[in-house]
Amino acid sequence: MIREQPIPTIDWLTLAPMTTVVVAGLVALFIEMFRPKQSNGPIVTVSVVGLALAGALTLAQFGMEPGPTFAGMMVRDQVGLVLQLLLIGVCLLTFLFSDPYLREKKIAFAEFYQLALWSTAGGMIMVSTTNMLMLFLGLEVLSIALYCMAGMDRKQAKSQESAIKYFLLGAFASAFLLMGIAYIYGPTGSLDLGGIAMIAAMPESGYLTMAVFGVGMLLVGLMFKAALVPFHQWAPDVYQGAPTNVTAFMAAASKVAAIGALARVLSASGALQEFWLPALFWVAIATMVVGNFAALVQKDVKRTLGYSSIANAGYVLVALLAHVKKPDQVPLTTALFFLVVYCLMTVGSFAVVSLAAKGGEEGTRFQDLHGLWKRAPFAVGCLIVFVASLIGIPPTAGFFAKLFIFQDALSTGLVPLAIVLAVTSAVSVYYYLGIIQATFVSDEGARKTVSANPSFGLNLVCLFCALAVLVVSLAAAPVSQWLRGSTQLPGEAQARSELQLDSGGRVGAR
């Protein structure tokens, strides 16, 4: 019977964006091969064109019939498309300010662009698959490329140290993820996430214990990637040590991919939520509290932003929990909207922080930003917008993103989470304002600080992110409405009713 295994039907359009990004990386590799150690201009151009093409291919698929392809290895659905587009955007924005930064740091290696492109492709796989094998492969493609990028500054001990920490903890987390997959595979015989819903319906209690253990381990692995407390220790170290453009990419892309995968796993295991919901409830609280309070005492801007990104992961987890608790009432829109806004703010602020690099030196402590206001007024102006949005001051998108999460949490009965969200957001004002304050302090004291001249690309990134943060807020309601379209994961309907179980043969064991 295995000999008659048919060749699966392939919907090339579903695979097209991911494939385009991979091919753009290959073309960039060939360019580097034929003209090594020269300016990276052509490589950046090719990468940006490839990403734009991939973005167009993703946009073209909105509104198309959702469904799996390649025997369920990839799926096309609204959530996956939004997140894919977001990942492509993050990569594009990072590339725009990377080249001048890398040249200032004297580490202008072309390999960065290829690795970042492939890493993006890995993230795109993670957010649009329901197959756990593909989820694992996507995760590894994303992470292994990131380990290399984190350690690419080979003369700096802290870059190497961040690479080894990230690598060892990432591989450790992968082992947990795999053990989880094994114990879900055992009772279902399938590598599809849809199998989890089936186990919950099985009469034998032994199967349920296995599935709970499996889902638990799987969640531990993904929580490591999303840097949720208590699996967050690596994040500040790695964010601080890695080159700043890599940090920007890592903070945005790996979080989007991990949260996207987490959303799929949680939706698919909605039937088991009595087991994991209480645990994740406390994880969300701990993440918000630890992220925000630890950020208060940091002396390094990148570290502070690292803790801030942990706190933001906590907020988005609240949105996910609200969604999973009442999928019919609360769509995944809130989480998606928050992720979009988070990426804009994060990439923008790290882009501004990257100005602190000059002539191979880079200081990222608060006092290294002193006087930045005079040297790069436009960038600092944009930084004010990002910080205002991170705090959640009303006219910015960050305010609406948090407000939506707050409302969702209230309407699904997760009141303690809503309260913790509000209180910790208030606490965050202090350290966010510290960043702004540092740029305004005069540097004519004991120590002269240096910073690079903002390049055209960096100004463009700042302008785009700042405008987007402001415009999205003006259009918060319509954007949210548009995202609301059909942002339900396929797993949901399955867990609730058995209606779609046989659609497209996604659940192998049926």
Partner: protein, 168 residues
Amino acid sequence: MTANQVVFLVLAAIAGLAAVGVVAFGNNPVRAALLLVLNFFVLGFIYFTLGAQLLGISQIMVYAGAIMVLFLFVIMMLQLHQRSPIVEGREGRGVLAWLFGLALAVVVFASVIVPLMSVSGSPIGDEYGTPQSVGRVLFTTYVLPFEIASVLLLIGIVGSILLAKRRL
């Protein structure tokens, strides 16, 4: 006790002891690496007893062969074995970790594995685990993951050049 069970118990004892040895002799990387080779080698045989012929062979060639040789190569090149034993001043933490780990294992064992203690394997067909059937599935249903894995290996190549080449 049947012959199969005796074979399994002997192999499992070797694999388990080797695994403990990797951790216990961890302050001598060469010794740990050789014990790990032993563990992987024995695991290959356990895969054979599970009927996974192709994977048993790959286990011995890929893990016990290629991967562990790479480990030993790096250990030798960096002369890790000649360094003064690296500080292990965390005895208390070590004992705690062992206790915690074993407690966790016992809990999982009691709740998850005990119900499966009496499950025996039903016949699963002659094709199981042969190179033909594995290859057939790998290049039909799993051809997309196969391609992704090729990207992954490419990342491994480009990445390790980026990290380890003397001059870029």
